[in-house]
């Protein structure tokens, strides 16, 4: 029998009819782990899994196998999306469907595996079983697509994440991978590829939502001896992790998307700009490149089509602003990552002065399916203005943290309360921050808006990177705004004044209003007052006059939170109170007279001499002197001090 590489190349990739002989079909099933002779255990091993302790789980599984002397394949897979329930372990017995278990650690591995091998599954650990044709389903085990988290999703980009081994190109090809690329280079001209993508109405998922086909066409039509494709994987938004997770879980899909895009704009060289911190993603991508090369899917004269293509990995040394297209070009050229003036646009004069297109990871991952199924298929998914799906990361105060993909047109309400499983710890929902530091907040009043570029535009919100941060009643909106402004201020490249100086001023003012002035007479009170007067107008100026997208969106968080939570800002400024109890220096402490034993410990520690009392009698805090430092709170052994 020929080896797997030869087999996949000749019988699968080069067979474009999609109808395979029975023998080929069987072999594909083996590669897909659908037909197995021995049990297979899959473990979610991407960043989220490892942080949750997947390595310990894997060790425990290996121990179990040794102890019980059974023959089992252990396969590392990517992230299925429900990061809150990691480490996730799937088991597939020969002839049976694959079952997924949640929160499997070194302690419960043995009992869960015992259950599976003895045909009595431990139910509280079950996430669900997969629906697989021709395999026998487990009785009394729910299906995974019935779980709320998955039921509301439509997975195109994330299709194989968490299912296949990301470090195994054979599994990817067995699942239909690289077929779109072969179809492209054999049947379409570059012009036709641009047309297909244009017709599919795919829009950039990196934030701006620019029609991808149009962008490709412009770059394609600019005469040049060399063109470049860049994949933007610089994800530095605090709270977004989809690009990293996609690359960790299915790097071949991205390579395929990049190869098709490069063919579409007639570029022979592509870069992927990926944040250097994402070590696992870089490692897996590198491995995937080597495998693709060995298959002849990258390199010179690919599959005798005359198309040459190579991908170079550029490790981004950690600057948020390098996610901006022109700053990224500078960074790849070995300069400070500062944005350039536009025009000329990168499609005209980009990397090394050549026409360049820059696309987001998710955008490129949509491409193979569009080629395979045709633009009309893609067109039927989504809404009138936005086609396809969108990947979001859910985090913050939500039960099911993770990565999800929904069809355009789904409401955020459904995303939070159905897929995300509602707010954590039964707290009250307050708001979501959509799109990270450049984004806006959505509140109860407009949470029923749907995922759609135009709809969001109409309420001045943006899709952004697609990170969703859920906030509950215990979150202080001023504090979170301060956090974002602090981030932007730190990441501002310093080229243009509104962004560099403006964000600094805003941060200063926000810091002032989250503190009680030490001295009422001094300029601190004035500064506070200035804040009230100036904050909004500074924000408007930054928004209107900044050079690049970083500055233009810097004030979004503030302006949108002010719109919905003006009362909370006013409370901070005038009443000097933080309802949520987050802003430390606005807290006021009280002593519970019933609990206080009069031990005197707090009184001695108080740096402001704000506590008075006689020994052995309950003490008292003078509110006007208290700065809210919390030292007394930490000192008290009798929990007699409480925050109001």
């Amino acid at each position: 029998m020929e080896n797997n590489i030869q087999f996949l190349k000749e019988k699968v990739l080069l067979n474009e009819t999609l109808s395979f002989s029975k023998e080929v079909e069987e072999r594909i099933k083996i590669l897909k782990h659908e037909k197995t002779t021995k049990p297979v255990i899959f473990v979610g091993a991407s960043s989220c899994g490892y942080v949750a302790g997947a390595q310990k789980t894997i060790d425990a599984i290996n121990n179990y196998i040794l102890e019980n002397n059974i023959s089992v394949d252990v396969v590392k897979v990517g992230c299925i999306g429900i990061c809150a329930l990691e480490p996730i372990m799937d088991v597939q017995l020969p002839g049976m469907t694959r079952v997924s278990f949640k929160k499997i650690n070194a302690e419960n591995v043995a009992s869960v595996l015992d259950g599976v091998f003895n045909n009595s599954i431990v139910n509280e650990c079950v996430l669900g079983q997969y629906r697989q044709k021709n395999l026998q389903a487990w009785e009394n085990v729910n299906f995974i697509d019935e779980v709320d988290f998955f039921a509301g999703q439509k997975r195109i980009v994330l299709e194989l994440n968490g299912i296949i081994d990301p470090e195994n190109i054979e599994a990817f090809i067995a699942h239909g991978g690289y077929r779109a690329f072969i179809k492209t280079i054999y049947h379409y001209t570059s012009n036709e590829v641009c047309k297909i993508i244009e017709k599919s109405e795919l829009r950039g998922r990196g934030g701006s939502g620019f029609p991808s086909g149009k962008k490709w066409k412009i770059a394609h039509d600019n005469a040049a001896d060399q063109r470049y494709l860049i994949c933007n994987a610089n994800e530095s938004d605090p709270g977004a992790f989809m690009e990293k997770s996609i690359i960790e879980s299915n790097p071949h899909k991205l390579i395929e998307g990049m190869a098709i895009a490069a063919y579409g704009i007639a570029a022979s060289k592509a870069y992927i700009y990926i944040r250097a911190d994402n070590k696992l993603a870089i490692e897996r991508f590198k491995k995937a490149l080597e495998q693709a090369k060995a298959f002849g899917l990258l390199g010179e004269n690919i599959f005798d089509s005359g198309f040459n293509f190579e991908i170079i990995i550029k490790k981004g040394p950690g600057a948020f602003v390098c996610g901006e297209e022109t700053a990224m070009l500078n960074s790849i050229e070995g300069k400070r990552g500062m944005p350039r003036y536009r025009p000329p646009y990168p499609t005209e004069r980009g990397l090394f002065g050549k026409p360049t297109i820059i696309n987001n990871v998710e955008t490129l991952c949509n491409v193979p399916q569009i080629i395979l199924n045709g633009p009309i298929w893609f067109n039927t998914i989504g809404t009138k203005a936005s086609k396809g799906t969108k990947v979001f990361t859910l985090s913050g105060k939500i039960n099911y943290n993770g990565i999800i993909e929904v069809e355009m047109g789904k409401s955020f309400e459904d995303i939070i309360f159905k897929i995300g499983g509602d707010v954590k710890d039964n707290k009250q929902f307050k708001a979501i921050q959509l799109g990270g530091p450049a984004g806006t907040c959505l509140v109860k009043e407009n949470i029923n808006i749907v995922v759609d570029y135009e709809e969001l535009n109409s309420i001045d919100a943006i899709m952004g990177s697609g990170s969703i941060i859920v906030m509950d009643e215990k979150t202080c909106i001023v504090d979170i705004t301060k956090f974002y402004i602090n981030f932007i201020q730190h990441e501002s490249c310093g080229k243009c004044i509104p962004c560099r100086e403006g964000t600094q001023r805003m941060l200063e003012i926000l810091e002032k209003i989250t503190k009680i002035p030490k001295d009422e007479a001094s300029h601190q009170t004035l500064e506070r007052f200035k804040g009230v007067m100036q904050l909004e107008s500074i924000a408007e100026v930054i928004k209107d006059t900044s050079l690049c997208g970083l500055g233009k969106t810097a004030a979004n968080t503030f302006l949108s939170s002010l719109k919905w939570f003006r009362d909370e800002y006013e409370e901070h400024i005038f009443d000097r109170k933080c309802k949520a109890g987050v802003c430390k220096e606005l807290r006021t402490f009280f002593i519970d007279v019933d609990k206080c034993t009069g031990c005197n410990a707090c009184m001695r520690k108080c740096p402001e001499n704000a506590i008075i009392g006689t020994i052995k009698y309950p003490h008292f805090i003078v509110e006007s002197k208290c700065t809210g430092c919390g030292i007394c709170f930490e000192t008290c052994k009798f929990s007699a001090i409480f925050i109001k």
Partner: protein, 157 residues
């Protein structure tokens, strides 16, 4: 004797500026930081002023100009972790180690760095020590954690 920096530089086959960041990154992986020597040698190789090299390197958060501690502690400063109150955690580290972001303790043992989202928001607060992750870390855990690390130090002086 040839230094490691020389070796990295000699491995290069062109002086194209677009390779500059890769070379600096490679040096940092081996040395842990960019020393004066590293900057001067790269500037000679790329035929750029050393001030320029420093200017480029200092633009990026990733490059360090002081050696890192034996235990390099990264504390996630992403939004989800912020909501899980990492500011207290950071304060605790700062209080015990008496250093701040980007600094290293005098005995060369610990250094801390605050980084954006580590991609494990579900189990915040997340920290990593020499690339090994710890989840759901609370300020009260910090003291023991550091003490344990100190004890596991197997360096032979």
């Amino acid at each position: 004797m040839k230094s490691k920096i020389d070796e990295i530089i000699e491995k290069q086959n062109n002086t194209d500026r677009s390779d500059l960041l890769d070379v600096l990154q490679e040096i940092q992986v081996i040395e842990g930081y960019l020393s004066e020597e590293a900057i001067i040698k790269t500037s000679q190789y790329f035929k750029l002023a050393s001030a320029k090299i420093y200017g480029i390197a200092s633009f990026y958060d990733h490059f360090k100009f002081v050696p890192q501690g034996r235990f390099h502690i990264k504390v996630c400063n992403g939004t989800a972790c912020h909501l899980a109150n990492t500011s207290n955690l950071r304060k605790e580290f700062e209080k015990i180690l008496k250093i701040q972001h980007g600094q290293c303790t005098r005995d060369g043992m610990f250094s801390i760095e605050y980084v954006p989202c580590m991609g494990a928001c579900g189990i915040s607060s997340v920290i990593s020590i020499n690339e090994e992750y710890y989840s759901s870390v609370k300020p009260s855990d910090v003291k023991d954690m550091l003490e344990n690390l100190r004890n596991t130090d197997d360096r032979i002086d």
